[in-house]
Amino acid sequence: MADKTIASKVWAFFTSVKLAVALFALIALTSIIGTVIEQNALPEKNVKLFAKLFGTANAETAYKTVSSLGLTDMYHSWWFTAMLVCFCANLTICSIDRLPRIKRVVDEPLKPLDISEFDKYGIKKELTINGDIETAKAAALTAIKKLGMTAEAADHTTQFYAHKGRYTRYAVYVIHLSIVLILLGAFFGATFGFTGFLSLPEGETSAVAYTRQGDEHPLGFSIRCDSFTVSFYGTSDMPKDYASWLSIIEDGKTVLKKSIGVNSPLKYKGYTFYQSGYGVVREKDAKSLIILNVTPKGGKSEQISLAVGESFKIPGTDIAGTVSAFSPALAFDKNDQPYTYTENMNNPAVYVEFTSEEKGKYSGWIAKRYPQTWKLPDGSAVELVDNWGYQYTGLQVRKDPGVWVVYAGCLFMAIGLYCAFFLSHKKIWVLLKPEKTKVQVKVAAFTNKNKTGYESVINSVFDRLAR
């Protein structure tokens, strides 16, 4: 007996709309704190913040208090989670509690009205139609049809009535369900998913990704970066696009090859690899290659890969070139002197020394983004196509089994919002009372949303009948 009252008390507590309104306020207010105190940051950052707010003397104590309350990682703290759980419970229980009542309203059959009831409705109208009862009936039926409804006729009075959109009353429950779905999906993803990263130099293969703390996380397959490129806007250093060519390897076999870019990730076996960054490989090994496109004057071009220090020949000529230096980002200053302006691969260039029996020796920089540097004095061209093995691609790696639940929730929410705010349950009754040469018409109507809108539609449809 006591159990039952406790259970029903808990139930009653969670059906309360007051609780919902309180939770809205509580979640909103506590969230504000989380935007002021930097989350998951190094302690010094927040200590500095508190020094600004409360003075240097109190900063340490303030930090200790705040972090013991979980406020430095508050969206994952037990109490914030508890609030979200309460919110979910509130939403679910409140909805379940009210659903039978709404179902009754939805299922309630529409009945003809008593004449006296016509005046009780918020939207009402009276008019006369010239002609006999049959013309009036036809007119009333077309009017109702114009409103997008199918009329039913009453048995005993000359009355038509119709309704539409009664199921839109469930729309808010679809919205509420969608919120629960989104929260469940997020919870599911956080519990069974994985978020980490992987920096993969060109040519390297990895069977693991890394968590934020730096721990290894086995993927169950291997991933290799075949190549990586960045392109820039015009002559600026603003990246326009960057892309990686990736291979998935299982049991020594390449099972999938795909290029990815920002906003277009690679998905495999529940893992998604996002292009999130790139960088320069610090410890280069012998594998790094320079890729040149060599075109003898009037001849066909040929691709050549070689390492810095190695030599090549321009086919069909006696010209030989030796790549003797590399710069990641070459530029020329005012006096046309070359210099390297950044460590990033913004404009890779190689210094090539050419020897030819006819023309003697000459040398110069060939830069990827400066086509004017590709031409040789004899009319051949050497283009720097790419440098391979010099850069790594930065991948964000994620496995989120809950994301589909979240997306389903979003879809439901969109549908629910549309139905709840832009559709409504509408009813109408039209009573015809024949007189000698005309018919008196009484209209009553009801809608659960946007009364003025419905009223003006009814006015315009029925005013046309009266004319």
Binding site: F24, S31, E38, K48, G234, V262, S276
Partner: protein, 355 residues
């Protein structure tokens, strides 16, 4: 004619429209009202053309994208939506009064752009921003923000008309919130006068915002705070004058309340879908996380909760009148904070280099 000139015309146009709407509000007179509408419509058309030109120009520069991607463009778009929404309401309801309360919002946004020195260049986009989800997200967010802006204006008007006593919390709320908006507008006007018209703008300052007043240091700052307190006090003291002026326009409380709910009912679903859901989908595609609790996201969520609170309080607890009007005003203040405060105030708190 390039887009900067057209934007300039629009900007001046909106300021003139603001003056004329306020003039209409004070002196009535049908001709003044018509003039206000004509100026507002002309400015709006000029701005529309400017937006299209800017779009074309970006193609000319080989960038080719809708003018909706940086702070400057989004504020301009906000003003455009706000004025479109306002003009629709003006034509539909044949009522000009609250133009005097909407145009200052447009003026505030435009003045803010000019004084903070936000870059107006058409800039290429870094890869993460080249996304249609992002475009939909920004467009819909700003449509909903302007709906919320209209709700704010009607909410404030409602409070002006409905409150009686100076000790009422709602009266204090509208007088304080209204004066703060007025003070911000006036302070921007002072910046304009000092740095743009008289033109003693020091080249070294990138942002002129409030340099003539609150951030001017020394006596200027002190004076500004004293003047602000005086403004707040006199608005509070003489607020009923505004009420008397307003009530002669025959705007009923029901009308204001109706508009207030209608624009929120349009803004809320658009904000949910565009502001939250599309934003999350974009983040998911670009970064691999659909929600990361960063301050901007969190403030969007707070804004959303405020309007959800509004809907539930109204629908389920039967809140009407003052409480609802206050809620819709608070909602728009959180919108402003989400958009500007997070960038300016919170990132200021978290940056340690400069004061």
């Amino acid at each position: 004619m390039g887009s900067p000139i057209l934007f300039g015309i629009a900007e001046v146009g909106y300021f003139v429209a603001m003056m004329v709407y306020i003039g209409y509000f004070i002196f009535k007179g049908k001709a003044v009202g018509v003039a206000a509408t004509v100026v507002a419509v002309a400015a709006f058309l000029s701005q529309t053309a400017a937006l299209l030109f800017r779009w074309l120009e970006s193609y000319g520069m080989g960038i080719g994208r809708a003018p909706l991607t940086n702070l400057y463009e989004s504020l301009i778009f906000f003003v455009w939506c706000l004025m479109l929404g306002y003009l629709i309401i003006e034509f539909k309801y044949k009522n000009r009064t609250f133009g005097a309360f909407v145009t200052p919002l447009a003026g505030l946004a435009l003045g803010f752009i000019d004084l903070t020195g936000i870059s107006k260049e058409i800039e290429p986009l870094v890869p993460a921003l080249q996304s249609n989800w992002l475009l939909a997200h920004v467009t819909m967010s700003f449509i909903s923000y302007s709906a919320f802006g209209l709700a704010f204006a009607t909410g404030m008007l409602y409070l002006v008309l409905s409150t009686e006593k100076r000790t009422e919390p709602s009266y204090i709320f509208w007088t304080v919130a209204g004066s703060v908006f007025f003070i911000l507008l006036a302070a921007m006007g002072a910046d304009f006068l000092k740095f743009k018209v008289i033109g003693t703008s020091p080249e070294t300052i990138k942002s002129y915002l409030f340099r003539a007043t609150f951030r001017g240091g020394g006596p200027a700052a002190l004076l500004s705070f004293i003047a602000s307190a005086a403004v707040i006090f006199s608005v509070w003291r003489y607020g009923h004058v505004l009420k008397r002026m307003l009530s002669s326009f025959g705007m009923t409380l029901d009308f204001l309340e109706d508009i207030n709910y209608k624009v929120v009912a349009v803004g809320f679903p658009i904000f949910t879908l565009g502001g939250l859901i599309f934003g999350a989908i974009w983040a998911d595609q670009a970064w691999g996380v659909y929600w990361s609790w960063d301050p901007k996201e969190t403030w969007s969520l707070i804004t959303w909760l405020v309007y959800a609170f509004y809907l539930h309080a109204r629908y389920l607890r039967g809140w009407r009148g003052n409480k609802i009007a206050v809620l819709s005003s608070i909602g728009f203040i959180t919108v402003i904070f989400t958009y500007l405060g997070v960038n300016m105030f919170l990132s200021g708190l978290h940056s340690y280099g400069e004061s």
